[in-house]
Every structure is written in C-alpha cells, then in structure tokens.
C-alpha cells in the first residue's frame, strides 16, 4: 500500500520502500502472471507445501518418576506389524510398521521400483504398485507387494492380482481426494503406454471414479468379488484421501476392508493441479484421530488395521502416528527423498555428480523442485527418459533407502523405549501432548502444561 506522499518522498530521499502485500505477495503475483500467460492451471508434483499443523506440534511425555523407561540401548522393543487379520487367510506380516506407499511405474522409473523393492525386502516391509500396473522389477524385488486396484484399471489383470500379497482398492489419495491420476505425455513412454493400453506420448488423465461400482453398497460387492477371485487368501486394503474421514472409514469397514489406509493432505503425487494439492483434504494430524474414532465406534479396533500416510518423514512422526492409533504408516515422498529427490547431486559409479544445471533447465533448484510431472527429474527418479533413468542406480538407491528406513525404525524404538514400551504398538495417546492449540484440537491430546483438549474438555 502506497501512503499519500510517502512514495515520492522516499524516492527523493534515495530510499526504496519494498512493502510487500500479504494478499498479493510475490507467490500470488507469480501465480496470477502464470495463469494469465498460459490459460491453463499449474500442474506439479509432491504434496501440500503450505504450513499446516503436523506431528511436529506434538511431543512425547517420556518416562520419569511416574513412568518406567526401558533401557534404550539394550532392551528389546518389538516393531513387528501384522495387517489384514480380519478376513484374509494370509495376513501381511512385516518387521516394521513403515510401508512404502503406492507410486506408479510411469511416475517412477523401473530402476526406482527395483530399488524400493530391494530396500523394503531387506527391512522386512512392503512396497505398493500404483496407477499403471505391476512391473516385473517390483514383483521380483519385493518380498511383500501390495497390488493397487485403481479407477483407471491400467494394466490391471488377474494374473498379477493372484501374485499379489495384498490388494489395495484405491478410492482416493491425499494430494487429490476426489480426483484421478495424471501422467503427462513426456512420461508416457512406449513401455508405460503399452502397460496402460494407451497411445504413446498422450497426456494421460485417469478417471476419478471406478468403472464398475459407484457407492458403498456396490463397493461391498466389489470387495467380495476381489476376495472370490483370490479365494480369500490375501488382505484387502481400502485407501482414501482424508476428507470426511469418520464417515468414509465407517463405510470402508462396513464394505469389508481388512485394512483402511488414510492419506492426509500432505500426501504426494507425481502430477496434479496445484489448486487441488493445496486446497483439498485435511491434514494428516487431523485425519488420524478421526479414523481411529471411526474404527472404535464400529467396534473393529484391532480387527481392522489402520495405515496413515501423508507427509510422514521421521521416526518421531511414525512414533506419534502409532501413539495416536495407527497400526502402520506409508511413506512416499520421504522415500523418494532418501533416493536423492531434491538433492544437489546424483550418484554414478561411485561419484556424486552435480545436477544443478538440470534443475536450472527446469527453472527450479534443489530444495524447491516439484517438477515430477515433467519427467525430467535431475536425479533420475521420476522419469522415463533412459539417460536420466540411469542416474538412479538401483543398488545404491536400495542402500540409501534401507538406511533411511533403519533410521526411522531406530528413532521409533528409541521413543517407544523411553515411554516404557517394549512394543512400538504399545505407544498410546496418553504419551503425547500438543504444543499448539490447533494441534491439541486436531490430535485430541492436551495442550502441553494443561489438561485442556479444545472441543473436549
């Protein structure tokens, strides 16, 4: 805002005033200029970037005189996790409660899929396919592979269904609940197009509704169909973006889900509209307690397992998610970052090679990149271009990801032991307090130093 007389006086005095508008700040100006120039909304990758209440707004009340800790470096703390005990003959048994979220071949290269499988198998956890079918690389490298059934049904077939260890019926995801997938033409290579039965190079926009069922009553029959086809052997997950969580979880339970997966608004994507990413869904922190309450109200706590995802980054995040009632978490973006997403360099034959020029060519920089949709990933992760794909060496990537998952697990068990728990699943809501009123209200734990839970007490 220019005050009367001020501008001219300042200029005369040689002082340049930079008064930025809150409503029309540089980010907003950039948005308006981009819209005016292109006439099409902005598409990008990753998840919500705006500031939101997160697990960082909670802290643990670890043991002291009133609680008894376990020896942090000595006593065992179990992290084994079992999913799908409700109906499946063969529930999923994992060594850690940290799973790899569904990300498509197409969005990711085959090398990345192989790296995910190797690391997950080494850590005793699962990987998940995505919109585009199952690749032989991920099936071969993954000890436990979850096969997604998505609205597009790209590459969906009974052979792969029968070789899956679990099925995840995807209703939606946190980055774009209510929207379909998207893969721009530069990533629709011959192999990707072949798997999806689409012409090579088209801008592929997936359906947002399943082709063969619509409402929750149909979903019940659909889940039964998948169970009948697989002879009730493997668990069926139902994944949803976090919006009307309480109602949606109840409907998924009623429809017969073994496991419910809730993906908060920080959840990532390879490509969708920026407006969708930032303005739909609720934060993971708010979604999780609603899902737990819904399971409780349906009397299925412990019978139907809950996986939470959307912006999980650290062992502390995992520990807090478990304390709030999740049975496991799923990680997508953090996993890609462990492989080098947004890193200055990529690794090639034992050397780190500078990728700055490639970020610059995308008009971005390491630390800010969300250009997964372009298929020109400077570090070779979200690409189908052979020269870029080789920048991610599967063995190196698998080692990095295994390290990351190991650190998360060590941090998780460190916090659990300090809370006096010999099993990470014994972490509980009573172990947490909130640092902000917003987080206290969303997580439904007391504000630190008080016994106040906004909306409850």
């Amino acid at each position: 805002m220019l005050m009367q007389g001020t501008g001219i006086n300042s200029i005369m005095a040689g002082h340049l005033r930079k008064e930025e508008s809150f409503s029309f700040n540089r980010q907003v100006l950039d948005y308006i200029h981009h819209a005016a120039e292109h006439g099409l909304y902005e598409i990008r990758g990753l998840g919500a970037k705006r500031a939101l209440p997160t697990f960082d707004d909670l802290v643990f009340l670890t043991a002291s005189a009133s609680r008894y800790p376990l020896e942090g470096y000595r006593e065992k703390c179990i992290s084994k996790t079992v999913l799908g005990t409700r109906y499946a003959k063969r529930p999923i048994e994992l060594e850690i409660p940290i799973t790899i979220a569904g990300m498509s071949f197409g969005a990711l290269s085959a090398n990345v899929k192989e790296a995910l499988g190797r690391a997950a198998s080494a850590m005793g956890t699962s990987t998940t396919t995505g919109d585009g079918g199952m690749t032989r690389e991920e099936r071969q490298s993954s000890r436990t592979l979850v096969y997604q059934c998505l609205p597009s049904r790209y590459g969906f077939n009974p052979e792969d269904l029968r070789q899956a260890d679990a099925i995840e019926l995807v209703i939606g995801q946190g980055a774009k609940p209510g929207g379909g997938g998207m893969l721009l033409g530069q990533k629709v290579s011959a192999r990707v197009a072949g798997m999806r039965t689409l012409p090579e190079g088209i801008d592929q926009r997936s359906a947002c509704r399943h082709p063969d069922w619509t409402g929750p009553d149909d979903l019940t029959i659909k889940l039964l169909e998948l169970r009948e086809i697989t002879d009730w052997q493997v668990p069926i997950y139902v994944k949803m973006g976090a919006t009307r969580v309480r109602e949606d979880v109840k409907l998924a339970v009623k429809a017969g889900a073994d496991v419910v997966v809730i993906d908060g608004m920080q959840g990532g994507t390879a490509a969708t509209q920026q407006t969708f990413i930032e303005h739909s869904g609720i934060p993971t922190l708010a979604a999780l307690p609603l899902a737990v309450e819904a399971l409780d109200e349906m009397n299925v706590l412990g019978e139907v397992q809950l996986i939470i995802s959307g912006g999980i980054r650290s062992g502390a995040d995992v520990a807090k998610a478990l304390a709030l009632g999740a049975d496991a978490v799923a990680i997508g973006q953090g996993v890609l970052m462990a492989l080098g997403c947004n890193s200055d360099t990529y690794h090639q034959a034992g050397e780190n090679i500078d990728a700055t020029a490639d970020y610059t060519a995308l008009q971005t920089a390491a630390g800010f990149c969300h250009h997964c949709h372009t298929g020109r990933c400077p570090v070779g992760i979200t690409t189908q271009i052979p020269q870029l794909e080789t920048r991610l060496e599967p063995e190196w990537g698998a080692r990095r990801l295994k390290n990351y998952l190991q650190v998360l697990t060590m941090e998780l068990t460190t916090l659990a032991r300090a809370c006096g728990k010999s099993n990470v699943h014994h972490l509980e809501r009573e172990d947490l307090v909130a640092l902000t009123i917003e987080a206290a209200a969303m997580a439904k734990v007391p504000l630190a130093g008080t016994n106040w839970i906004p909306g409850k007490s």
Binding site: F156, T197, A207, P211, D212, D218, E225, E228, D231
Partner: protein
C-alpha cells in the same frame, strides 16, 4: 462326450462354487461343461475363471458375473446386474437377457455379448475386449474406452464415447448424443467387415448397412488452453 457337472446354488455357497471352478475344475482338464442352477440374482458367480470350460448360469444373476474372466465361456440364461464380465481378459461371456450398468467395464480382451439391452456405461474404460449388444445401450457408454470394439445393434443414450481413446464404436440405431471428443466417421470397407465379423461371432445376422462408426477426434490427447471446461 460332453462332460457335464451340475452345481446347485440352493445347496452351495458362492465361495464353494468359485473355489470349485478355480481349483478342482482345471485339474480335470479341458472340455468340461458346468451348469449352475438356482443363481437367484446372486453376485460374483464364476469370477476369476482361468480354464477352457463352458459354464451355463441357469437364471438371473447379480453383480460382477464372470468378472476378470480368462479362457472360459460363460453364458447367463437370464438378466444380470452391474458390471458383468468386468476386466475380462479372454474367453467369452454371453448374457441371454439384459445387462445392467457397466457391462464389460475395463475389459482387456475376449468377447462379451449382451443379447438384449445393456444399461448405462456399457464398455466403460474398455481396454481391448469386443462387445456386441443386441439391443440398446444407456448413457455414457464406452466412456474413456481405450481399445477394442463396441457394436450396438439398437440405439445409444446420451454422451456416447465421451473421452474416447482408440476404441471404436459402431451403432446400428439412433445416437442420442456424442460425448466430448467423440465423432462420427465414414464407414469404410474394413469397418463393415469388422462389424459383420463381430455380429456373426455373436450370433446375429451380419447386416451392416445401417451402422455408423464413432471414434475419437483425438483433440483431448494433449493439454491445451482452448479445451476450456472439457478438462
């Protein structure tokens, strides 16, 4: 000699039926014929088959009949509910009566014949299967159809072929309206041959004179600002 097995759903569960069809039947070798009695509108009958067998469902059946079929030839002697032969890979599924919504949704291969009418979204998301409908189809049929052929002897409801990819639709009767990016194209010799072949395989007279060809205008294959609210 026809090797016939009768399975009566009055005394069997759907799970027992499917497990027999998945596990025991293939172990007996090819050439078996299974009669399923008393379907009484039940869902998920004969889903996930993967053997060269004939299955006859003697009566009306519910949702997802013969879903994800491979190799088998399934005939329903009655009407079916939603999503018959969804995601069919190969073999054939024939409905002697009418089919409700989403018949042959996302079918990858094989042949689906609906002898009478099919409701809305017939052939939605189809990926290479062939569908022949003796009567008419409802709204948004062949929505986002990617590959394969839909032949409709009767009329088509609103929004036919919306967002079509490479699948081709042939309609013998009236078309209420076409969906976004679908357009009528001239029938060529190979179109008449294709329709005649599918009609013959489906057991209908191979009269192709009145058929129209509907295919994608391919104007939505790439993002562009002029497409406006069609995105």
């Amino acid at each position: 000699m026809d090797r016939l097995i009768q399975l009566d759903l009055a005394g069997l569960t759907v799970r027992e039926l499917n497990q027999f069809l998945h596990q025991e039947l293939p172990s007996r070798g090819a050439g078996w014929h299974v009669d399923v009695l008393n379907p009484n509108g039940m869902h998920n009958l004969a889903v996930g088959l993967n053997a060269s067998v004939d299955v006859d469902i003697r009566g009306h059946a519910g949702y997802f009949i013969a879903g994800m079929n491979q190799q088998a030839r399934v005939t329903v002697h009655g009407n079916v509910g939603w999503s018959v032969a969804e995601n069919i890979m190969s073999g054939s599924v024939r409905v002697k009566g009418c089919a409700s919504e989403c018949a042959a949704a996302s079918g990858h291969g094989g042949l689906v014949v609906i002898e009478q009418d099919a409701s809305s979204r017939c052939g939605i998301s189809m990926k290479g299967c062939d569908i022949v409908v003796g009567g008419s189809v409802g709204h948004l049929s062949a929505f986002m159809a990617q590959a394969g052929t839909l032949v409709v002897r009767g009329n088509a409801g609103p929004g036919l072929g919306d967002s079509l990819y490479e699948a081709v639709i042939y309609v013998g009767g009236e078309i209420h309206s076409l969906g976004a990016d679908a357009r009528e194209e001239p029938m060529q010799m190979e179109d008449h041959a294709r329709v005649a072949e599918l009609l013959t395989r489906a057991g209908f007279p191979a009269e192709t004179g009145r058929f129209k060809r509907i295919a994608s205008a391919r104007s939505l294959y790439h993002w562009h600002a002029d497409a406006g609210d069609r995105y």
